[in-house]
Assembly symmetry: C2
Homo-oligomer: 371 residues x 2
């Protein structure tokens, strides 16, 4: 194998595909990147869960393939001068990487030892703008469960209904939902669950472009085609929460609040909460004001946030982290908080009806001396 | 105690003095900051090695003092809105910190339990520009030893000779020296050794200002007065290396090199060196070119750096980290490397004679198969 290409092209492909290489594995090839030079050059990382293949245009002198340790290759390419890089492999997997006056000779691994990326046929595909899928993941993925006891909820549900795609993430204590219109689809209704870790990589690879991302749905796997990158992940199997039944349809109280002001207040009263001194934030919704109190062995904190609306003194306790996660992800300056009782779920929606997100947080039961 | 002040003033004092508070101590007061409100408000951190006292102007309503956990106080003040902060203490050390609508009540500690900062009389003082002392520390402190077996070398030597101050740091393998003219002095000749950890804080506190810093030399302690901050450190006792005898006065070869180009080349050939695969950088000084080679179990790396001058093929091995530290600290675009043999110390000086620094690095013996 021998090819030459611009440093920047190779660096981009190596950086992207490296995200899917195993950081530590008993199988050295899995800590490597598969570099293939045939019709074009592709660089692949695959930890047997998520695979990323990046293509780049290069001047191929001799076809072939090699596996090189991902971290070492990335380090070398990053430090090279901005110039043309040449990679060549001799028999025995000895690989030479040269650029300007710099020459590295390192031992590669046999490409035959590298696992094959699963094949996903592209017949059942959904097309959605790159910036839209990026936003949908950013605004829901935080609520994906990290509890492996319910594997299905370590992923997000994708549900297509005519031309509306709904993404839902849920752990035992909160739910995040985001809807968006797709560009086109080759299927009518379909639903599948994608691991949160794979979605984090899709978000990272995606830019704010108007170009379409292709989501191909196979029987066992799912494939995202984003620009010159392809990401393949297994689908999660199991029964996802029936989210429609879980979200309250009505609420007794509804108040509007500036997201930034509420986040600041929650962050302040959170300062005396720690992993050691866990304690809920006690929220009291009064007329046009929300008071927040925390009470731990470190002391007490009290804050006030202006709101529009009246909760008639309703008291409700929240986990500060869940409240902050939801507010941080909400793509709106102002949100509406919908409440019924101190033990019923709280729903946060945009005040602007054009923005289609919804967060639900289960309250923490307050003891009289807490918060 | 009760006082009010601008958040920004208090935040600055707390951030600065917190650097000297113990991060973890069996004595809770040492993890705290001593806040005193008498003629003015001072905030003090002191881990029994280095102490920092910062003053700020405040509106003092009631005199007094309290000790508050440094991390908690810093967190609270940072998150407060940009407004006037009021701190008040009632009997029983309960401390209320309020700003805008936010109120924190936390338990403080008795100021009587806080250790006193050592007293350093200001009779023997040296005055030097803040930007100069900052640069002198930045350009030498990296070479201070962290080997507690020779405590004296865990500090830097300050040596005043008429109006020239020389700062020298040394560990077993390298030496850094920097000279600067002082503004004025109340002593003629004096030398003392300041712990590197205290100097790191002096560097951090100092700005690039032309104002004078006062360095007061006591029998056991040393005090730096920088703007509204005072830093007190113990002096290190012992016999510092006789650095003048250690630095070669002549050299057989002298080559000039662009600092950035050499750093880039050393960084590249260092990529295959790791803690596991330690190996020297083999440098070969030829006519107008310096070749660098490393050789580890990961492979080989080869690079070339243009130089002015001729080393007649002299081969010498260096620890890559020591070479990079020296180059990074050198305040010059171009440096002169002075060499005699492959086993004699290498000296790096500025090509511009106005800049008064000198680095010395001991070579690593090369085996024939290395580098």
């Amino acid at each position: 194998m021998k090819f030459s290409c611009e440093k920047s092209f190779l660096m981009s492909a190596v950086n992207t595909s490296s995200r899917a290489a195993a950081s530590k594995s008993a199988v050295p090839a899995l800590e490597g990147l598969l570099i293939e030079a045939y019709d074009m050059v592709t660089v692949t990382g695959y930890d047997l869960k998520t695979g990323i293949r990046s293509s780049l245009s290069a001047d191929i002198e001799q076809q072939g393939s090699i596996v090189i340790n991902a971290r070492l290759l990335g380090d070398i390419i990053r430090k090279m001068p901005e110039d043309v890089i040449t990679i060549s492999v001799n028999e025995g997997y000895m690989t030479t990487i040269s650029c300007g006056m710099s020459v590295f000779s390192i031992m590669g691994m046999n490409a035959a030892d590298y696992p094959e990326l699963p094949n996903v046929d592209s017949l059942n595909s959904i097309f959605i703008k790159e910036k839209d899928i990026k936003a949908m993941i950013a605004e829901t993925n935080f609520a994906v469960s990290n509890n492996e006891a319910r594997p299905i909820h370590t992923g997000a549900l994708f549900e297509l209904n005519s031309d509306i795609l709904t993404v839902v993430a849920v752990d035992g204590y909160r739910l995040a939902l985001r809807r968006e219109r797709i560009s086109k689809s080759e299927v009518g209704e379909i639903s599948f669950v994608v691991p949160g870790s794979a979605l984090a990589e899709v978000e990272r690879i995606s830019s704010d472009s108007d170009n379409d991302v292709k989501i191909s749905v196979g029987a066992k796997h799912i494939m995202f085609t984003i620009d010159q990158n392809v990401l393949v992940s297994r689908r999660l199997e199991g029964e996802f929460l029936n989210y429609k039944n879980s979200i309250p349809q009505t609420s007794k109280y509804s108040v509007e609040v500036n997201k930034k002001a509420l986040m600041d207040a929650v962050e302040r009263v959170s300062l005396i909460i720690s992993d050691r001194f866990k304690s809920p934030v006690r929220c009291c919704f009064k007329e046009n004001e929300l008071t927040l109190t925390t009470n731990t062995t470190l002391g007490t904190a009290y804050d006030v946030c202006p709101v529009s609306g009246d909760g008639e003194g309703l008291e409700i306790g929240f986990n500060n982290r869940y409240m902050l996660d939801a507010l941080k992800a909400a793509p709106a300056d102002n949100v509406r908080i919908q409440l019924s009782t101190g033990i019923a779920p709280c729903v946060i929606v945009p005040t602007d009806a054009n923005k289609n997100f919804l967060y639900m947080i289960l309250p923490v039961r307050l003891r009289s001396n807490e918060g």
